[in-house]
């Protein structure tokens, strides 16, 4: 699971969970992969993301990389930042571990790179 995916995930499918976001990451095994840097792609992706969840995720996996607390203006021209974000979002992959619902602490396992977000019938 890439951290960009984490930014999209919620556990609000669970009964009575309101936001279910952001999920806490417990990373037991993390891998770095090499992806070609695409400036335009990454700058178009950034406004779609939740910045707080992004820094939270980076923190969870120990890749905070001095990210600013808020998304700075003119980020699209800040190559240094874009490359950092490229790395955090696309190159860091959680292979094993789990995601945790912030409201119910329900854990969703990540095994061999794949989060299992299936809910039991009595949870929905």
């Amino acid at each position: 699971m890439k951290l960009i995916t984490h930014n999209m995930l919620t556990s609000k499918g669970i009964k009575n969970v309101k936001e279910g976001f952001p999920l806490k990451i417990q990373a037991d095994e993390v891998k770095n992969v090499d992806i070609d840097f695409d400036r335009e792609f990454i700058s178009r992706m950034i406004p779609k993301l939740d910045w707080n969840a992004l820094t939270f995720a980076a923190q969870c996996v120990g890749h905070q990389e001095d990210l600013p607390d808020t998304l700075p203006e003119g980020y699209e021209n800040d190559d240094d930042l874009l490359k950092k974000l490229h790395h955090i979002l696309l190159e860091v992959e959680v292979i094993n571990g789990c995601l945790e619902c912030p409201e119910t602490q329900r854990k969703f396992p990540i095994s061999n790179g794949i989060p299992n977000m299936l809910l039991n019938e009595d949870e929905v």
Binding site: E40, N112, I114, N116, M117, E121
Partner: protein
């Protein structure tokens, strides 16, 4: 003088009796002893053969100021409204007990009333759900031809297939329709087939989509004025969904009554009797509830009250004329799966061993218990895909062009979600977008991950994504695996939820109609090639020579297998979750029903295929999947003889097993185990109907190779 007194006395006695009828019929209408504008005409109404013109004639012969006539269907009385009380009084004084309506032997009896009924129609001219009347389906010329098609003769008993029923004459073609049981004897078709002269009409029926395939049973009824047919529901197990009635010569009112006795379906809120006028040359198409849950019949009468927008009452009295009806049906192979205990013979036959409480849980076809539906999907979708994942994956590599076009049209930087992404067939084609996929099958997700795709395991009914996130979503061949309409709608609603405003969704579902006009879908066409163990999504490389060589062997197999399946279709039943028992589809044939189990014969993967599959990453890097294709084509499967034996073995096993033990997953390891996936195939319009219930604009809806497809945009 004595006579007049006696007449007045008689008139008072008569009107008193009629008033008591009126008061019980319409308690909110009150009699007035002083003149009002409204007059109750007690013994001249639609059932006494009085009509607008005869009443107008009577009233205008006395005075003027008539403003409205209110005729009540099924009643012997009517109402006249005048512009003033004086005018009403003039008419009443002159006519009450003294004048008669043209054609009537006795004078009219009248009384003043405070008002006239506002809704004059206790009979509702409405269509039950699933009913359609196609006006002018045939031309006047064809009508004449059809009127003379059958020589009813002086002696109506001149043909073995014809008979005189109590109220009408009838002929049967293809199969004899037995009125005693509203069914046919499937084992004994008639020598007399549907006459070739009907072919153009049948073609039109299929081309215009009123039946997915041509009928094989035709009943021709001749109704003389005054004749009718008792209300009945055509037996579910005998005929397919669509029942068509073509009216020739005369029109008639057909009565539809809701007969499904589900106790929770209150009949108070849900009127149980609708009247539908079938004009001459019209085609009445009964499907769904109108065919399964409503009875239809014709009341023996000389006249019909039919809607007429041009008359003041909105109604018109039509004398009946000789009407010949052509009823087209398709005999069902196998059982009906509507599960409506009160009307379905298949359901009752199959559920005898089921405990009563289980039976009640799924008493309605559309309201299959959600819990049971989830179980059905778990056992007959999720578990099956998990077990066939590798085999499934090697048969799925050629993307459908129009889906690919949608995916590739997305601009750079878009976020794309693939709901039910399977082996990732539509992933990785557009490198400019960020694409994520999800599926319930963890085995398929492993395959995707190995191919380098970003995926997770989730149910399409609870997508684990934030609201309004994706610029686009595709959901290909997924929704048809959900067992209730509520769940199918729920899955689409989830897709809409995660789309951003203005975001586009593309959905493909398998179509009930595998033949459009004369064009058969690839799925059906593959019957000839008969790659039995592949599935409909696959587009075959038909230019491959090896396949052709193999084809001849395969053809032999089709014949044997086809015959075998046909013979045993009724007996092949696969136990499923809860109480349900679903019919089994025969691959590469027309669908006989919307809900069914579709077999998947698991062919063990050859070494090369396994390698190929595990080397997904490798394949991705080289773009296409030639390797898989080549490998697959080398694998010709068992010989025809072996397959035939396997088929028999599996069937025997299934039939021999205890129902409760049968989960659709083979318990024994034999060669080529067969798995059964649940499918609900969609009828034309069904997918749009679901989408229109959501917050979307339909951009495009179309038919693509045996699938119904829709592109929609989230609007707010």
């Amino acid at each position: 003088m004595e006579n007049t007194k006696r007449d007045i006395y008689k008139a008072q006695r008569k009107i008193k009796r009629c008033i008591s009828i009126l008061q019980s019929d319409m308690p909110d209408i009150h009699i007035s002893h002083i003149p009002t504008k409204h007059v109750f005409i007690a013994n001249a109404g639609l059932t006494t053969n009085a009509d607008e013109s005869s009443l107008v004639e009577l009233i205008t012969s006395i005075g003027c100021g008539l403003e409205a006539l209110t005729l009540i269907p099924g009643k012997q009385y009517s109402f006249a409204s005048f512009s003033s009380c004086d005018q009403a009084q003039t008419v009443l004084m002159a006519a009450h007990g003294q004048l008669d309506v043209r054609g009537s032997a006795s004078p009219v009896y009248m009384s003043y009333v405070d008002k006239v009924p506002t809704d004059p129609s206790p009979i509702q001219f409405k269509f039950p759900p699933g009913l359609m009347v196609v006006e002018d389906f045939i031309s006047a010329k064809e009508e004449i031809q059809l009127m003379h098609l059958i020589d009813w003769g002086d002696n109506p008993l001149d043909s073995a297939e014809g008979s005189v029923l109590k109220h009408r004459q009838v002929r049967h073609f293809g199969y004899e329709f037995k009125y005693s049981s509203n069914s046919v004897d499937k084992e004994h078709p008639l020598a007399q087939r549907i006459p070739p002269v009907m072919t153009p009409i049948i073609q039109r029926i299929v081309e215009q989509g009123y039946m997915p395939v041509g009928p094989d049973q035709l009943t021709v009824n001749r109704y003389l004025p005054g004749q009718g047919i008792p209300s009945h529901v055509d037996t579910h197990s005998s005929f397919m969904d669509e029942i068509l009635s073509l009216s020739v010569g005369g029109g008639v009112n057909m009565d539809f009554r809701y007969v499904s006795g589900n106790s929770n379906e209150g009949t108070k809120d849900k009127p149980s009797h609708y009247v539908v006028y079938l004009p001459p040359r019209s085609l009445c198409v009964m499907t769904g509830p109108a065919r399964y849950e409503w009875s239809h019949g014709i009341c023996p009468r000389m006249t019909d009250v039919v809607p007429n927008k041009n008359s003041t009452t909105g109604l018109q009295l039509l004398p009946r004329e000789e009407r010949v009806s052509f009823t087209f049906r398709k005999v069902r192979q196998g059982e009906c799966w509507c599960q409506n205990a009160s009307v379905c013979d298949s359901y009752n036959k199959n559920s005898k061993s089921v405990p009563q409480d289980e039976k009640n849980k799924c008493a309605s076809p559309t309201m299959l218990d959600d819990r049971i539906a989830a179980k059905l999907e778990r056992e007959h979708v999720l578990q099956v895909y998990d077990q066939i994942a590798s085999h499934f994956s090697v048969t799925r590599h050629k993307p459908w062009p129009q889906v690919l076009e949608f995916v590739c049209s997305l601009p750079r930087g878009s976020m794309l979600l693939d709901v039910g992404c399977g082996n990732g067939k539509y992933m990785g084609h557009n490198r400019q977008v960020f694409q994520v996929g999800c599926d319930t099958s963890s085995e398929l997700m492993k395959i995707c991950y190995a191919r380098g795709f970003e995926v997770l395991t989730s149910n399409c009914l609870q997508l684990p994504y934030r609201d309004s996130l994706f610029d686009a979503a595709v959901c290909i061949a997924v929704i048809h695996h959900l067992a209730t309409e509520e769940r199918r709608l729920g899955a689409i609603a989830e897709i809409v939820r995660v789309l951003s405003i203005g975001g586009h969704g593309l959905i493909y579902v398998w179509a009930m109609e595998q033949q459009r006009g004369k064009k058969k879908s690839t799925y059906l066409k593959q019957n000839k090639v008969n790659r039995h163990d592949t599935q409909y999504e696959e587009l075959l490389l038909n230019d491959d020579e090896k396949l052709r060589i193999n084809e001849q062997n395969m053809r032999r197999k089709v014949v044997c297998e086809g015959q075998y399946n046909e013979r045993n279709h009724d007996s092949i039943k696969v136990g499923t979750s809860g109480a349900s028992s679903l019919p089994l589809h025969i691959n590469r044939t027309e669908f006989m029903q919307q809900d069914m189990l579709v077999p998947w014969k698991l062919r063990p993967l050859k070494k090369k295929e396994l390698n190929c599959d595990r080397r997904g990453q490798y394949e991705k890097e080289f773009g296409t999947s030639h390797r898989c294709r080549d490998n697959r084509l080398h694998t010709n499967g068992p010989s025809a003889d072996t397959l035939q034996t396997t088929m028999l073995d599996n069937t025997v096993k299934e039939n021999g097993q205890n129902k409760s033990n049968r989960k659709g997953l083979p318990t024994e390891t034999g060669p080529d185990p067969v798995f059964h996936r649940f499918y609900h195939v969609f009828k034309q319009g069904e997918l749009e109907a679901l989408c229109t219930r959501l917050n979307v604009n339909i951009v495009k809806s179309y038919y693509d190779e045996g699938n119904w497809c829709i592109i929609f945009e989230k609007i707010s």
